[in-house]
Symmetry: C2
DNA sequence: TTCAATTGAGTAATCGATTACTCAGGAGGG
DNA sequence: CCCTCCTGAGTAATCGATTACTCAATTGAA
């Protein structure tokens, strides 16, 4: 492997000049720029990123912290982020926390050790780790979820309130009146906002919110099964279900199937998160689609802005809110059978 | 950030001694070991991995090269690999090639630049990149796919022949006789082997292979739709379909649904790759499940072995073949209707 | 008791880049 | 014509670790 020293020798110049040419720093005579570039080409030289990073105290690596990379939402977000990383010459390091706080802390420590160029966090609990400290060392962007404990950290979010509101309103307009909510853990901001959107829709339609029409799960499939079962087998059963995320929708759908209820006639069905299976089952499922891929891209853009110039200002916080999309399918439309 | 120099000063020793303690190298007096460790604790010192990597000419980073991280198979494989990386103190860098050769080459160059500790490749076309050269620089493991051009590279594979053989035999035993194959691109080893397994099963059952019962796709959903449509609408239509991967199965299933054919009575259905939706649709789909997560773990183990000792010997090639599992569900069993 | 071998620790070179500092030479003003 | 300022390039320090080399002290054998 050729080093910068080899290039300098080959070009008959000093390493300082070679470095200046490579980084477009300082002013170098055009003739020498050409000589350096020729030498680089002749030797097939590529700068060693480790030497560079050591000196610069910064690595062109971005970290991505997620609770579950196998979930389609995070996989898609990851994909969007990865595309932007590649374009901008960044490596992307993957951190799967699996909701484990200790792992999360460990990864953040690694990010500090390696002096990452940025960190995108879509993780479980942001209460325990001291993100403010981290933010002094590198740009940090929260995606999908925010924490009230960190109002001063950049974030890219989805308008969860609107998403839930539009889906529930849609169900109401299709004649469903007792709409059950399969909610997520209330300490996760996304779950909280979706619940609020659900409530607003009912109130705006002139229907009160009844506590026994809300069952709380943990965002995983089994809890969706349990919650849905409870809601539709109650004394006064729900006549429609709105599920707060895609994983619980899997469980909820299985529960409805096992109980032999027919969608959409006996029960309306809609959920947050789009997924392949929701178009393959009969009837297909109405969803609130999140722009996951775009979320990843937007997070990348914020990292780049924070890195290049100090814009937005250190004191200023960037909050991007992307709009979800209601995709109406058969499961929420009475009379539009299979 | 404390450096090794600070630790040396704090302990009243030289950096060499501190380094020896940290790496368990050379022999250091027990009393001094304790002094060094105390100093490390007092300062909260963590070694800078960049300085270390520069000197050692090796980074504890693994690269993972896949064509599509959003595909559940690769996502699961990635997850298995990531788990092992974490346990063994490695970082995992993600490389999504999207079947693009140029991207693939670019990423491999990056792996060389950063002096990665290993590379796991589950990528499209291994014909263009010179993997032999790469292998001299770092351990390389192929997963899922192999290339005849590189017989001397370690690989972790699935027994595709057996998987296809058992699924097709199962269909035959359930009375289906004209079994159509939705095949993958023949230049990809997995597709080739699955086709061979399909053929063997037919031959062993005393039925010849008919060319018009094989339609070739490209491993993506739309091609599955087209291939399935062709097979079941032919003059002499297939009475069952075996699909060579999960993505094409999505298309094939949609085609069957659009044509209004009833599974399993009018048409038997089975596919490679398990996925969530295959248990949610009516009837549920019989699949050949691949141990994707374990594939990732096995790849990690090979990297570790290559790194630690030279075992297997440089001349020796490690080939792990994992067994797939036939999961029988309703779609392949006549008379067991919805 | 003396000398070689071994042990334990320090000094300084090194990995490969960036950049503060230095300095020669040319331009421009007085 | 001389002095100052500016430009362009080189020298060498630096980032933070590892390790070859060196050397003093201790052990063991003759």
């Amino acid at each position: 492997m050729a080093t910068i020293r080899d290039v300098a020798t080959e070009a008959g110049l000093s390493t300082a000049t070679v470095s200046r040419v490579m980084n477009n720093n300082g002013s170098v005579d055009v003739a020498l720029v050409a000589r350096v570039n020729e030498a680089i080409d002749r030797l097939g030289y590529r700068a060693n990123p480790l030497g560079r990073a050591l000196r610069r105290k910064r690595t062109p690596i971005w970290g991505f912290l997620a609770s579950d990379i196998e979930a389609p939402f995070f996989a898609s977000l990851l994909h969007g982020l990865e595309g932007q990383a590649l374009i901008n010459g960044k490596l992307l390091m993957l951190c799967n926390t699996g909701e484990d706080l200790e792992r999360e802390r460990q990864y953040i420590q690694t990010a500090l050790d390696y002096q990452f160029g940025g960190l995108v966090i879509a993780a479980a609990s942001m209460t325990a780790t001291e993100l403010d400290v981290l933010q002094d060392e590198m740009p940090v962007v929260l995606v999908d979820r925010v924490s009230a404990a960190y109002p001063d950290i950049d974030a890219v979010l989805v308008n969860n309130h609107l998403g839930a509101y539009s889906a529930v309103t849609h169900l109401l307009e299709n004649g469903y009146r007792r709409i059950g909510l399969v909610a997520g853990p209330s300490d996760i901001s996304t779950a909280h906002e979706r619940r609020a959107g659900y409530c607003s829709a009912l109130v705006d339609y002139g229907i009160g919110v009844t506590d026994d029409l809300v069952a709380t799960g943990d965002f995983f499939a089994p809890s969706g099964y349990a919650a849905a079962t409870a809601l539709v087998t109650a004394d006064q059963p729900a006549d429609a279900l709105f599920v707060a995320n895609g994983q619980m929708a899997v469980g909820a759908y299985a529960a409805v199937r096992d109980l032999g209820l027919s969608i959409p006639d006996e029960l309306g069905f809609a959920t947050f998160d789009d997924d392949l299976w929701m178009t393959l089952v009969e009837p297909s499922i109405t969803v609130v689609r999140q722009p996951a891929y775009e979320l990843g891209e937007a997070a990348a853009h914020i990292l780049l802005r924070r890195e290049d110039v100090k814009d937005p200002e250190p004191g200023e916080v960037a909050r991007h809110i992307l709009e979800p999309e209601l995709v109406v399918r058969a499961s929420s439309c009475r009379g539009v059978g299979p």
